[in-house]
């Protein structure tokens, strides 16, 4: 087993451990820390997939923006030690685990049965190619995403203003 494989296995363990910590931990802030761990692991996987630009964007957008947003929301929600635990009764956990494992095994069977046509051509997509594609072929979806973000920001502001005026 060569050195790159060892680091790859470590990154996989970080990702899966973070995901399990996100789902199974009892408090929201630990779940948020697990989400941060998962996102760093996925960024490492992007580097192994020859996409360093996406790894940077993953860390900047997810860890830098969305997680901070969720952290502020958790702080606004109130003191965590007064809240009850996240799990209510074990039957609900068993049913949820049955649903999750069912979907896992269905999609695992799909993955294993399908013969993916893996091309052996070397992968040489640089950041310049992604930028060319975004401003050449995919200009219309790109502008639609920006419009969507503007609408989301205005909607969030309007929601907070509306609730304040109602009081």
């Amino acid at each position: 087993m060569i050195f790159a494989d060892i680091i790859f296995v470590i990154i996989i363990l970080i990702t899966l451990g973070g995901a399990l910590m996100t789902v199974l931990s009892g408090s929201i802030i630990y779940a948020l820390m697990g989400l941060v761990t998962t996102m760093f692991g996925v960024a490492g996987l992007y580097i192994y997939l020859n996409a360093p630009f996406l790894a940077m964007m993953q860390i900047l957008i997810y860890v830098g923006a969305i997680t901070v947003l969720i952290a502020f929301a958790i702080m606004l929600i109130g003191p965590l030690y007064k809240k009850p635990k996240e799990w209510s009764y074990p039957l609900k956990f068993i049913l949820a685990a049955v649903v999750a494992l069912f979907s896992f095994f269905v999609f695992a069977k799909v993955i294993l049965k399908t013969q993916w046509i893996v091309l052996s051509t070397p992968f040489a997509i640089s950041t310049k190619d992604i930028g060319r594609l975004l401003f050449d072929r995919l200009t219309f979806p790109f502008e639609l995403i920006s419009l969507l973000i503007v609408v989301a920001i205005i909607g969030a502001v309007m929601l907070s203003l509306y609730s304040r005026g109602e009081k």
Binding site: T22, I28, L45
Partner: protein, 108 residues
């Protein structure tokens, strides 16, 4: 990066994305507060982005559509998180809690 390493097979990335999807489904179904459900949805979106980049790397390596759509997924996730957190703060102001089970006004 050519060679016969462990990181050069498509199935490993697909199974990691699938594990993220399963963890997200488990969290959405079983978590109590709305913020935890939102965190689980972010897990599902991460798994989807990982799948797209893996397919782009192994199945269609001559263009970069998968990476571009992963960037779109990140933008959509940011917009969705902003809207969902605004709604959660609104629910907190009106009802005083953020538990998904107790929000059953429209069920009655």
């Amino acid at each position: 990066m050519t060679g016969m390493g462990l990181y050069n097979s498509l199935n490993i990335y697909l199974f990691i994305g699938l594990a993220l999807l399963a963890c997200g489904i488990l969290g959405v179904v079983y978590r109590r507060t709305l913020v935890s459900m939102l965190i689980s949805i972010e897990l599902i979106m991460n798994g989807a982005g990982l799948n797209l980049v893996a397919f782009n790397r192994f199945v269609a390596p001559e263009n970069a559509y998968g990476m571009a759509f992963t960037l779109f997924i990140m933008g959509i996730a940011a917009a969705e998180a902003a809207i969902a957190l605004a709604i959660i703060i609104l629910i907190l102001r009106r009802y005083g809690h953020v538990e998904g089970v107790k929000l059953k006004e429209m069920k009655d």
